[in-house]
Subunit: 360 residues, 2 copies
Amino acid sequence: MPRPSSARLDKTGIVQIAASLGVSPSTVSRALRPETSHLVRADRRKQIMDMAEKQHFSPNPGARMLRKGANATLTVVVPFDENIFFSEYYGRFLAGTLHAAAARGWGVQISTMRRSENTNFREAMQHMSLESSGIIYLAEPLTHQELEELKGFRRPFVLTKSTLPEDVDVRALGLPVLSVDNLSGARSVASLLLQLGHRRIGLLLGPEGSRDAHERKQGYLEMLQKNGAVPRPEWIYSGPFNAESGRAGIEKILKCAERPTAICCANDEIAFGAMHAAHLAGVRCPDDISIVGFDDGHWATACQPALTTIRQPLSDLAERAVGLIVEAANNPGQIRRFVSDDMPASMMIRESTGPLRRSE
Amino acid sequence: MPRPSSARLDKTGIVQIAASLGVSPSTVSRALRPETSHLVRADRRKQIMDMAEKQHFSPNPGARMLRKGANATLTVVVPFDENIFFSEYYGRFLAGTLHAAAARGWGVQISTMRRSENTNFREAMQHMSLESSGIIYLAEPLTHQELEELKGFRRPFVLTKSTLPEDVDVRALGLPVLSVDNLSGARSVASLLLQLGHRRIGLLLGPEGSRDAHERKQGYLEMLQKNGAVPRPEWIYSGPFNAESGRAGIEKILKCAERPTAICCANDEIAFGAMHAAHLAGVRCPDDISIVGFDDGHWATACQPALTTIRQPLSDLAERAVGLIVEAANNPGQIRRFVSDDMPASMMIRESTGPLRRSE
DNA sequence: GCTTGCATTGCAAACGTTGTCATTTGATAC
DNA sequence: GTATCAAATGACAACGTTTGCAATGCAAGC
């Protein structure tokens, strides 16, 4: 039996409720919204709410949004990765975003973006911004061409410096970029090792192509060079940001005739791997070797020994990103081509670093 | 709220663009949407797109939503917690949700929900569902009263069993509930220990009030009792789901005159804490004591020794949750009061369990 | 009885976009 | 030149809610 064309009785709107009670839609609308419900006589209000309940009414989000103007939602674009939430960076940044957005009454939408496919970047961004008022881009590194495309993008958005190619000058870029000061973070922790007396310092660096890895490397090298502690080439290892890379790196370094007495790692996971492999090899930390990480990951205090590392102000970063989006959304037209200062990272000195032993 | 009627000439809509080019809004709409842009002559399309670019046009999401019907977005409600993403449960579930939603062309919105305040639960849910087509509730445990309220809730939603009070019968509840089979997971891992010859088995249980903790406890006890291996009271410890709790628990247990030879933990973090404290106390795992966890957390394979544990099918769970929401959104009216079967968990046998030593 | 003021309700106009027509345009074939 | 047909465009009506304004009813004050 084809359904009678008149049907769709199940479509409950404010109008149906009004009709079934013999009142006007206006009254129903007023009764149902807390801000205006005082305008409706108490008994009628109850009547309406009961009927809404009975008819399983729920307001049409689109209509309300249209009527009220903007939607208080921003989109965070993250890489498509099974383990995305477990990374200190994304996990803490996202939590910060949720927090900051909630404080402003905003919602957060999380979208993944795969860059491998040959999808049009511009269109993908357009599509994402369609249902929200702004974008925080945290996904995979952008190409120069995509950055150019982004200059013409007219919805509020924010990048993090981590998504930029190494050779891009942030100040000259003219896009809203937020960042953590990798350079001085790396310098300060290298400086700590120097102060502890270490001169033979190895480096377990991150992957090629990562701007974060590059800047941390710069920071380490710069500080070491300035103090005449240039690491030997065989003390330097590059690999992905994971524990396995740390293991491989330290194993290679421990084979050297002359070993370093301290190691700077490009992030905590590398440091964990290194610490673990060193332990297995009978090399004690910090007695035989000092190790520093970067990120202050979730397990930095839980591991043995607790890791000396750099804490990135990710919740501040998130707070700022959300603030920029909300501001831009509230002042359309005058989009600020904002270039942020680096936000300072702080050193967390724990147990994995110690003074150089006298015998060395 | 009276909007600033004076200014806002810059309010670019499809209509303004049409006007400035002397074409009709329909044409602009068609030109701007990829699906229909082929209907517009190429040169005109370019003209329109350029103008849209120049005027910083971006489509009004509300209007589109209203016109098109539903919006393909679902909301995941999680507890308000700084470290939310680092928990294996939420991290993997959310990643699974993102994956499953993306596969269907849906977006995912993540909302936090604090239960401590005396906010009206119903209203909070209502508010959340306002901007999306369905809700997956993963936040803090619900009260009986809230469950009752939920029965009248007419937007698509799904709960997980973890959010229910211990004494609620899922089958009788009549709400869409998804769950992992804690019971048989716990049974299987207890059974493994028994097969390895262990009879003196301790329990490091989770917090009171957590349904997951309760069910795992049930599973452990049931299997042990059935095999005449009832644990002594002093071998049982309850605490929060974290490593500290595991440390405290094992320390208490190690003080007993007669020590157990194996320990079942309510989750991985507790197991980590226990393993760590045992190590510090000179008790070797698995030689002196076997330890099993629950969750197959991110570090279960990274720790030393690798942890024998139960892997929850969280991505399957997420996939199913998203599937139910999407289905419900596509078939409004016929909301299924769906009660899921438990989804089976699988045992991951690693290095933290070993056979009972002969001397024992 | 008439005004005044207040509480309550209805009317109708938006909000910006999209899809369904109907209409125009342009090209091709006769 | 006209008929034919497809492509391109325009006119217009929704979509469901909110809100300014007007209308009504009611009670109190004169």
